[in-house]
């Protein structure tokens, strides 16, 4: 049965078990539009979706919201606890409020947008996800980031990009300190272009690429050097 596009499935988590919501989202060919009310800070809301659906969550959520997301668009009209969109594969996760630690952690693809601030370890070990933060991020942002782009419209706390591999970081405000092997890099036209495209996709209209600085790996840390073989 195909749902009519205009119909919205509304799930009240004060009435329906969270497992029931997630089970229904995991069914083959789920309805396209969902609205979740009274999330009440519950953990693991709308995790593991692999479908072209849109989920609007009306309120604050706990840990790991929209984790492992594939294809779906999940929008949280509130704040998020630890690990929002952790290990996201594709699709889009938007947080209208703030996000706690480890937003977008280990993400492989897709887009994570945090309109407010994100706390420590935002984009830790990111592997291809794009993350756009409208506010500022906490310490150790993009720690061991391997691939993908992290855009911060505000400031970044200490230890940005520690032990970074090939991810690209763009920060508009102050960077309190760079982590090991992370350096500022030249902003070339292709970077302005990709940053402009990311800001547009994230719906950020009050920032222009020219205001940002680019950071990335100095590539001194992660390459094997035969001269150093004895110290490995």
């Amino acid at each position: 049965m195909t749902a009519v596009a205009s119909e919205v499935e509304t799930v009240d988590l004060d009435q329906v078990e969270l497992r029931e919501l997630n089970r229904r989202l995991h069914e083959p060919d789920p309805p396209e539009r969902w609205r979740v009310v009274h999330p009440g800070g519950r953990h693991a809301v709308a995790v593991g979706i692999d479908a072209d659906v849109t989920v609007e969550i009306e309120g604050h959520v706990g840990y790991y919201c929209a984790g492992m997301n594939k294809r779906a668009t999940v929008r949280v009209h509130g704040h998020c606890g630890v690990g929002v969109a952790e290990n996201i594969m594709s699709g889009t996760v938007v947080v209208e409020g703030n996000a706690s630690q480890a937003a977008g952690a280990t993400g492989r693809g897709g887009l994570v947008v945090v309109r407010g601030d994100a706390a420590a370890r935002c984009g830790i070990s990111m592997k291809g996800v794009d993350i756009v933060v409208g506010g500022s991020i906490g310490h150790m942002g993009a720690f061991m980031a391997q691939r993908g782009r992290l855009v911060v419209c505000g400031d970044a706390q200490d230890g940005l990009g520690d032990s970074i591999y090939e991810a690209r970081l763009y920060v508009r405000g102050e960077v309190a300190g760079l982590g090991a092997d992370c350096v500022e890099k030249e902003m070339r036209p292709e970077h302005s272009e990709e940053l402009g495209e990311l800001l547009e996709r994230a719906g950020v209209s009050d920032a222009s690429p020219g205001e940002f600085r680019r950071y990335g790996s100095a590539r001194r840390l992660y390459h094997f050097h035969r001269d150093n073989a004895s110290s490995y």
């Binding site: 009440g40 800070g41 519950r42 953990h43 309120g59 604050h60 706990g62 840990y63 704040h79 606890g81 630890v82 409020g97 703030n98 706690s100 630690q101 706390a119 420590a120 906490g138 310490h139």
Partner: protein
């Protein structure tokens, strides 16, 4: 793991239902700490010249009335104790330290959970939801309160290993995390005259605060000094006579969420414990920055 909750009332209405609200918050943190639970609640200030002691007896059906008769004769106690499960609250017409010494000498079977003019600490083993009903938290009024649910990692599960830990008159500490230099620090603090009842790491943090406060520091200064002295990870919530304070370790290992409305200020390990409060949907909610001390005091809020 462990869970922490705290609630500070800004209106009489919230104060009237403080115990019920705190109980709901505590139950919500049951999964973070199923081993034991405890609260410190600030309520019913005693008249000038009096002190309030909250005592714990391990023995079931302890004869609190007989103890009251003895206490009345020894140090003066105007009315019978308020018994709450394994605990009883006594009001004495004496300095808290004198009453404490008397109890220590005459009744070593008892533990003084808290002492002061307003604080009452209750704590017990078992599921937090059972604690909430067993100690009838719903009937308690007060101005502010802290609670803790424990998942034991560093030491045994007993009543006295449970939180909150008293850190002096009308002071207490709850802790989520674990400390790695507590043995060394305990030795140093014992030399400074601080007494410890257990081998628990959190009690050492409480003892450290007791020591710094005795040295004349404010609660905020004492907490800031924790950052340098304590090795480990922690979110602390400290209850004081007129408010509470919160500190997370500088790395931000352990979670904390703060929320405020016109009616209350709340803190919890996770937002879901705050979601049960009236008006939570419209509260300002934020995560305290690592290594920063946050505090609320009644006179400051009243301004």
């Amino acid at each position: 793991m462990c869970g922490i909750v705290g609630l500070f009332s800004k209106t009489p209405e919230v104060g009237e239902h403080l115990g019920a609200h705190l109980g709901a918050m505590l139950s919500e943190m049951g999964e973070r700490g199923p081993d034991s639970a405890g609260i410190a609640i600030y309520r019913d200030p005693v008249p000038s010249g009096h002190s309030k002691l909250c005592l714990f007896a391990a023995e079931a059906d302890y004869d609190w009335i007989a103890l009251h008769a003895e206490l009345r004769g020894a140090v003066g106690s105007p009315h019978e104790p308020e018994v709450r499960a394994s605990h009883a609250v006594f009001v004495v017409e004496a300095d808290a330290a004198d009453a404490r010494r008397w109890l220590h000498d005459r009744h070593p079977e008892l533990r003084v959970m808290s002492a002061g003019e307003v604080i009452e600490i209750y704590k017990e083993m078992g599921l937090p939801s059972q604690f909430v009903s067993r100690f009838a938290l719903a009937e308690l009024e007060g101005t502010h309160a802290l609670g803790h649910t424990r998942m034991a990692t560093e030491s045994r599960v007993t009543t006295i290993h449970s939180h909150p830990f008293s850190t002096g008159l009308d002071l207490c500490l709850v802790h989520n995390g674990s400390l790695s230099n507590h043995n060394r620090l305990r030795i140093d603090l014992r030399r400074a005259g601080i007494e410890f009842a257990t081998d628990n790491d959190s009690e050492v943090a409480a003892g450290f605060l007791t020591w710094r406060l005795a040295e004349g520091e404010s609660i905020e200064e004492a907490l800031e000094n924790c950052i340098g002295a304590l090795d480990g990870f922690y979110t602390f919530a400290v209850g004081t006579r007129d408010g509470f304070a919160v500190l997370r370790d500088p790395i931000g290992c352990k979670p904390a969420v703060l929320a405020e409305t016109d009616d209350w200020v709340a803190m919890a390990s996770e937002y879901r414990a705050i979601a049960v409060l009236p008006g939570a949907d419209d509260a300002a909610v934020w995560e305290p920055a690592p290594g920063a001390v946050y505090s609320w005091r009644r006179e400051l809020v009243a301004q």
